[in-house]
């Protein structure tokens, strides 16, 4: 059984994503900060997205840059910003600067509970308009067509079977 993923707009300017993982915080944290591990989950195969570049320097003041390719888009999609805080195994804070001034600040917390880790990802936008714009343009994910592909996959029996 997969653990549920929840998304909630908690205010005019905030989005909250939560999920629990069956493993200790230091391993989940490693998967969020080591490029070779990030590459294996951040661009899900079912979305047809591929990593072109995955550069991360996970320390306070360090930068990151993710570049994705997608068959529906001629231009690669680029996401970049700066780590405002990196506290091993418990907290990550980074900026999202690809959209200019309207970008959110993302805070991810890793809370170990027994053998599990609860991850809470909080996006804080500078204004209500910035979040509304992100929602209207789809820029937060940038993969509108990919979602349609996923819709197809979701109704295909066996499509969710684990990849070798």
């Amino acid at each position: 059984m997969k653990n549920p993923t929840t998304v909630e707009r908690t205010s005019d300017r905030e989005l909250l994503v939560t999920r629990t993982f069956n493993g200790p915080a230091h391993l989940v944290f490693a998967a969020w900060t080591r490029p070779e591990l990030l590459k294996r989950w951040w661009a899900p195969q079912s979305f047809g997205i591929t990593f072109i570049a995955c550069e991360v320097d996970p320390r306070t003041g360090g930068t990151y840059r993710f570049v994705f390719g997608h068959p529906s888009s001629e231009q690669p999609l680029e996401f970049f910003g700066k780590y405002l805080e990196v506290t091993p195994h418990s907290r990550l804070v980074w900026t999202n600067e690809e959209g200019g001034e309207g970008g959110a600040v993302t805070t991810v917390t890793f809370e170990e509970r027994g053998a599990e880790t609860r991850v809470v990802m909080h996006d804080l936008y500078p204004s209500k308009e910035a979040l509304d714009d992100a929602m209207a343009s789809g820029s937060t994910c940038g993969f509108t067509e990919a979602f349609e592909q996923l819709d197809v996959l979701l109704v295909t029996p066996g499509a969710s079977a684990e990849q070798p």
Binding site: R9, V17, F21, V28, A31, L37, P44
Partner: protein, 121 residues
């Protein structure tokens, strides 16, 4: 979203074909407003504004509520449903990522356990 019939799209298209009405939606996206406030903002008569609001209301883009003598306008159900649909798409993206992350965490756990077994030996 499937329940919207062609007539709803027509109503919505007609409602959005007017620049003032698009401006009203943008304004209501920022905050709810009374007819009087909207009329002042768009420099038009109360009667003129009421007409625009009625068109938007019929298209489901705006909802109004009368409290006392003031009629307050807000974004309609249709707009709220669009937001809910966006959130669901966003949730699916993260769900797909996290399902893949599950596999990474499982593998790291196995690697760590094996490393532990080796040191014991």
């Amino acid at each position: 979203m499937v329940q919207y019939l062609t007539s709803d799209f027509d109503a919505s298209f007609a409602a959005l074909s007017d620049a003032t009405r698009r401006g009203i939606l943008e304004q209501l996206g920022r905050s709810d407003a009374s007819i009087t406030e909207l009329a002042a903002k768009f420099r038009m008569t109360l009667t003129g504004m009421k007409k625009h609001v009625r068109v938007l209301e019929q298209a489901g883009l705006v909802a109004t509520q009368k409290i006392g003598r003031v009629r307050t306008c807000m974004l309609g159900q249709r707009r709220l449903e669009e937001e809910a649909a966006w959130i669901e798409r966003y949730r699916r993206l993260w769900e797909a990522r996290f399902d893949a992350l599950d596999a990474v965490v499982e593998e790291l756990k196995r690697t760590e356990k094996n490393a532990g077994t080796h040191t014991k030996k």
